[in-house]
């Protein structure tokens, strides 16, 4: 009897709670979005163009690192062809803006670009299409790769990245080796470039963090730790791995769309093997599995070669310094910048507590 009445009161209660939760989420998203947009406009106006370009590149690199972290770091599938998914997103997004959109815009005038709303709408459509195309590619690559582990998977994904690049090189409709230039800069309209890039970064990072907090997310880590044991404990390892590939590559695809519509030009050599390796380096450097680590590594590895440009007289040694820095990093902190840990408000609070305790004990 008591249970029945409990159930009766709980049902409408949880419905209202769900509505409240949803409204809360929408408000939070709007507030963060508005703050980001404001910051973005300010940055565009006040930051020197060079630094602004580096900032955007850092943001895109961080998205790539976080999304590959989902496949490599969290699920433990050593994939090193991430630039392939990035390329698919960039090309499909650009195909929308330059090829398909103009055709449709004749009958659907709201698809015209040039206004803030029109640019934003088309960018969102391009990002959706780019992500979906990359996700489909993720399934195509992820499914056969389920039979492979470790080195073999690495070779397969590396090969896949090259296949994508060579295919693009040979399609005349997308410019072949010249690539596509003069892409409308949908990202920069209204000074919102930083808004788009960092919204995507925050979205992907939050998505990963939330997943890792859930029981469902723990099964992903379990697949990394021991596939046979997770299988025996009822984890559908196939599903986990394919989902990781799909989500990871969709995010990389979205990053590709932003890249194309910010830098207004793409060609196959932008998505070469060196980019794949660089993204993999970011994930390894981050400490496999750490989301905040991946963001830091994305920024660091993009900004470092730029910061080393002051070596004007030793220009040719710039990358030597870069690789030396990486090697030193591997030697001194093989677990990565953050290891398995995450940087959050909690860790700042702990650090602050430690400093206070130390100063207090020093005073006493």
């Amino acid at each position: 009897m008591a249970a029945a009445s409990n159930g009766a009161t709980a049902a409408p209660g949880s419905g209202a709670a769900a509505l409240l939760w949803f409204i809360g989420r929408v408000v939070v998203v709007c507030v963060i979005g508005a703050a980001l947009a404001g910051a973005s406009i300010l940055l565009t106006e006040n930051l020197e163009t060079y630094y602004f370009l580096v900032l955007i590149q850092c943001g895109i690199a961080a998205v790539l690192a976080v999304s590959l972290n989902l496949i490599n770091g969290i699920t433990g599938q050593f994939s090193i062809g991430h630039a392939g998914f990035y390329a698919v997103g960039a090309y499909v997004g650009t195909a929308w803006t330059m090829l398909w959109r103009p055709m449709l815009a004749k009958s659907a005038p709201f698809l015209e670009i040039g206004t803030l709303a029109g640019d934003a709408l088309n960018l969102v459509i391009a990002m959706l299409l780019g992500s979906i195309a990359a996700a489909v590619t993720g399934v195509v690559v992820g499914t056969p790769s389920l039979r492979l582990r470790g080195d073999y998977l690495a070779i397969l994904t590396l090969g896949f990245g090259e296949v994508i690049r060579v295919v693009l090189l040979n399609i005349d409709a997308v410019g072949g080796a010249r690539g596509l230039a003069g892409i409308p800069t949908l990202v920069s309209t209204g000074g919102l470039a930083a808004f788009w890039v960092f919204s995507l970064l925050i979205a992907v990072a939050l998505l990963t963090r939330n997943l890792m907090r859930s029981t469902r997310g723990l099964t992903w880590l379990a697949v990394r730790e021991d596939e046979i044991a997770s299988d025996a404990m009822g984890v559908d390892t196939t599903k986990v791995k394919v989902t990781a590939f799909v989500v990871g590559s969709a995010s990389a695809g979205a990053a590709g769309v932003l890249y194309a519509h910010f830098f207004t030009g793409i060609s196959p050599d932008i998505f070469g093997m060196d980019v794949s390796i660089l993204i993999t380096t970011m994930v390894v450097l981050a400490g496999t599995g750490s989301v905040t680590g991946a963001i830091i590594a994305g920024f660091a590895l993009t900004a470092l070669p730029e910061a080393l440009r002051f070596l004007k007289d030793f220009k040719e040694y710039r990358m030597v310094f870069f690789s030396t820095a990486l090697i030193l990093m591997m030697l001194t902190r093989p677990q990565g910048i953050l290891g398995h840990a995450e940087l959050g408000f909690g860790s700042f609070a702990r650090l602050w507590g430690r400093i206070r305790r130390r100063t207090r004990s020093a005073a006493a």
Partner: protein, 280 residues
């Protein structure tokens, strides 16, 4: 009454080699059954067949009235068969609680989307699973280790965590692969008590592979003996200990007549068996 697990004439070949041939086992609800045999007799292959790691070449495995032959391991686990591993396979970098949570995930009412958006239902579900896992850890005396990394635990505790993790799937049949391996006599006695307690508390049916005769003879109600992939004997501990075929399998058959003289004492002393009553 139908047995919970009914293995009907199962064979498994690797190339031309029959690792297991024509094995039939019946395990009733609530039984604690042992599976023993000399090295290479096919015990682990039987476990792998039961848990879906291998599909049987011939024969059928029926669990709870339904055939499970040819199902994948995760499907078998969802049907209610959980196992531990002979060479401990914990999720090393995860905490003790997380290890158990992964196994409990098969009862989670959450999806990728609900996890990503942290919906209220998701948060409630996670809380429910965590509470469930915490109480399970409590019942297995693992609560003090809940937040330690699994690979930081002492060996005996890791074995206990393997059992806790298997129990978190809420199995009807628990397969224990050499749970006493590498344990000292005290730990073994504790383990025997633990297995019997869990069997009663969780209303479990248990199938146990074990080399340690003291453990097997001490707690198993019924024992199957495998040799060269075939079941050569089945019965109570006493019956098994005096079975000439079993003695021959363990000691060899250089002299048939001597095996018949004092089989019980010979088998016990050779296999390191002390009478079960001492520990109980």
């Amino acid at each position: 009454m139908n047995p919970l697990l009914d293995v009907r004439g199962v064979s498994r070949y690797f190339g031309g080699l029959a690792a297991v041939s024509n094995v039939s086992l019946q395990i009733g609800v609530g039984e604690l059954v042992g599976l023993i045999g000399p090295n290479g007799a096919g015990k682990t292959t039987v476990f792998n067949l039961l848990t879906g790691v291998y599909a049987p070449t011939k024969g059928e495995i029926v669990f709870g009235g339904k055939s499970i032959s040819g199902q994948r391991p995760f499907q078998v686990a969802r049907r209610g068969i959980a196992r531990t591993f002979q060479n401990i396979r914990l999720f090393k970098a995860l905490s003790v609680l997380q290890n158990v949570q992964v196994a409990a995930a098969l009862r989670a009412r959450q999806s990728f989307a609900s996890a990503v958006f942290q919906t209220p239902g998701q948060i409630r579900d996670d809380r429910r699973i965590r509470a469930e896992c915490t109480s399970l850890l409590d019942r297995l005396d693992l609560m003090s280790h809940a937040d330690s990394r699994a690979d930081a635990l002492p060996y005996g505790v890791q074995r206990r965590l393997e059992i806790a993790r298997a129990l978190a799937t809420h199995p009807r049949l628990l397969l224990l692969a050499e749970p006493a391996a590498g344990m000292n006599p005290n730990e073994k006695s504790d383990l025997m008590q633990l297995i019997q307690r869990l069997q009663a508390e969780f209303e479990l049916t248990v199938l146990l592979i074990e080399h340690d005769m003291r453990v097997v003879m001490g707690i198993c109600e019924r024992i199957y003996v495998l040799d060269y992939g075939e079941v050569i004997a089945e019965g109570t501990a006493q019956a098994i200990a005096t079975d000439p075929k079993v003695i021959a399998a363990y000691l060899g058959t250089e002299d048939e007549s001597s095996a018949g003289v004092s089989p019980a004492t010979e088998a016990e002393s050779s296999a390191g068996v002390s009478p079960a009553t001492e520990d109980a």
